[in-house]
């Protein structure tokens, strides 16, 4: 499968320019997302995360600056724009609100059909995508409106995945789900990353999710890119989190408390497994 590199050069975006409602949602953002990486986007409400990711597949055109996918300017012409939309799949917040077809399978096949595939091919891709997102075959011919919230969300994600993008951008894919639904969707996303070898851009309000899944993160604040780099580094620098109005993931908080109490705890540990491994020898020594 093709690889997708996403690059933004000095992108600024204004909503409603030239009116009383003008809003600078992105301010001179430059970043590079390598192919095949799992990158997180975080920041407080209104910091511009959703605006940022809509530039990745040319749904929004920068007021100034440039968006490059695999080195091509996506807004240069219609052909490139179309290609960008196929290469970079975007799953919006609450994507289940966009279902419309009579059956689940048809809804998922909507994207592939738009790419000009035959019905048989489109259905085949839809089935593969549904399988990948963990929707059971018995639901394929059911109306998507009859499914549960979590299942609807999987169908909606499959709808984007069925276009076989080489990068998948997900805007808070776990918002409003119960813990079990959350975990299993995350697991599915990890599986796509692993098995299909696609780039994942993951927007989340949950520091724990980001800490667990992402190698690198972008931290947004007031439309500006506050930090781009290693997840570990981001969570170890408390001043970054503080400025962005975020709190460290639970594990970092626990480790920091232990350190304050005089223990040589690893404050840059991101998951419970990691800290357990580091702490176990110390506890044994006692």
């Amino acid at each position: 499968m093709a690889v997708a590199k996403i690059e933004l050069r000095n992108v600024t975006y204004l909503y409603n320019p030239g009116t009383a409602f003008e809003k600078r949602a992105l301010d001179d953002v430059s970043l590079k997302i390598e192919s095949g990486e799992f990158i997180g986007v975080m920041g407080r409400t209104g910091s511009g995360k959703s605006t940022l990711i809509q530039h990745f597949n040319a749904l929004l055109k920068p007021t100034s600056g440039m968006v490059l996918i695999d080195g091509e300017d996506v807004n240069a012409d219609k052909k490139r724009l179309k290609r960008a939309r196929q290469k970079v799949g975007l799953v919006f917040q609450y994507p289940e609100h966009q279902l419309f077809e009579a059956t689940t399978l048809k809804d998922v096949a909507f994207g592939p059909m738009n790419m000009g595939l035959s019905v048989a091919e489109a259905n085949e891709r839809a089935e593969r995508a549904l399988e990948m997102t963990g929707v059971e075959a018995k639901y394929y011919e059911k109306s998507p409106f009859e499914l549960s919230g979590g299942q609807k969300r999987r169908v909606a994600i499959a709808g984007v995945l069925a276009m076989t993008p080489s990068a998948l951008v997900l805007d808070e894919p776990t918002a409003g789900l119960d813990p079990r639904g959350r975990d299993s969707i995350l697991e599915n996303i990890c599986r796509m990353h692993r098995e299909m070898n696609i780039t994942i851009v993951f927007v989340s309000h949950s520091m724990n999710e980001i800490a667990r899944l992402c190698q690198r993160v972008v931290v947004m604040d007031g439309g500006r890119e506050l930090f781009l780099g290693n997840t570990r580094e981001a969570f170890a620098k408390s001043e970054i989190l503080e400025r962005a109005g975020l709190s460290a993931p639970q594990m970092s908080q626990v480790m920091r408390k232990l350190k304050e109490k005089g223990m040589d705890a690893p404050i840059d540990a991101l998951t419970s497994e990691e800290s357990a491994l580091a702490l176990a020898p110390m506890l044994k020594k006692r």
């Binding site: 597949n57 749904l59 799949g89 919006f92 994507p95 966009q98 419309f100 909507f110 738009n114 409106f145």
Partner: protein
């Protein structure tokens, strides 16, 4: 994406914005009637001067006002052309076959053009400077006397408030759905009429579903806060006339008298 400035509130601080909505509504109403009654040029001159003053005082940029009127522009042009060619009259200025341009026709067209422009200006001035909520409050106030003949004034106002309140929400929702379907490769801009109409299904179905979901949620929320219509309901913000409102009312009365005086000229 959606430029619907008619009926859109433009939030800035100005004297006009701060006036009592009841006064603004009744003034606009008086103005409509007056515009149709004006018999001569001087009346229009006074009216135009008055509206110009209003527009300046309201601090809404001219470009914003006219952008909203773009949609009605075609109707305006059509009406004027129609009037010029099809008004019967004595003094023919130009005639070619059945087409005849008369002095009466030109005069009539100028009059209609002025009248319609002023009408549109005054109504957009009203909606640009008055928030929808204030406007419905005013409507409810003026409809109250009709309650005696069983007109459900409160319910009408509530329905309007809700409808107005949800227009931006639905527009936003539409935009979001369009984007989501575009992300799935939906092509909404090209193709013939039938293809375009078919392309609307992926937009309209989710839109209706979400509209019904919202309506349900809202009904539930209102009911669980014991909303049961007008009975025994008091207001959180009661409208009250301020000093500026009295002055404005006086200015308005002066304007009406002045215009009426021009009738006699």
């Amino acid at each position: 994406m959606f430029n619907v400035s008619i009926g859109q509130y433009y939030p800035v601080d100005s004297i006009i914005h701060s006036l009592d909505p009841r006064l603004k509504l009744i003034s606009a109403f008086c103005f409509f009637i007056l515009l149709f009654a004006i018999p001569n040029f001087w009346g229009y001159a006074v009216a135009a001067a008055f509206i110009t003053a209003l527009v300046i005082m309201s601090r809404v940029p001219l470009s914003f006002i006219f952008r909203g009127l773009r949609g009605i522009f075609a109707i305006l042009v059509f009406t004027v052309i129609f009037t010029i060619f099809f008004t019967p009259g004595e003094t023919a200025l130009l005639s070619a076959g059945i087409i005849k341009i008369t002095a009466e026709g030109l005069y009539m067209a100028a009059r209609i053009l002025t009248r319609l422009t002023l009408l549109m200006l005054i109504s957009s001035e009203l909606t640009l400077t008055t928030s929808p909520i204030q406007l419905t409050d005013a409507i409810e106030f003026w409809l109250k006397p009709l309650k005696k003949i069983r007109v459900p004034a409160h319910e009408i106002a509530m329905m309007m408030t809700i409808a107005l309140r949800f227009i931006p929400v639905l527009l936003e929702e539409t935009e979001k759905i369009i984007k989501a379907q575009k992300a799935r490769g939906a092509d909404l801009d090209t193709g013939g009429l039938i293809k375009k109409a078919k392309g609307l299904t992926p937009i309209l179905v989710p839109l209706f579903v979400s509209a019904f979901r919202r309506a349900d949620d809202l009904a539930l929320a209102m009911e669980s806060r014991c909303y049961r219509g007008d009975v025994g309901r008091t207001r959180m913000k009661t409208l009250a006339f301020s000093k500026t409102d009295y002055i404005a009312a006086a200015v308005l009365a002066g304007f009406v008298i002045l215009t009426a005086a021009t009738f006699a000229v």
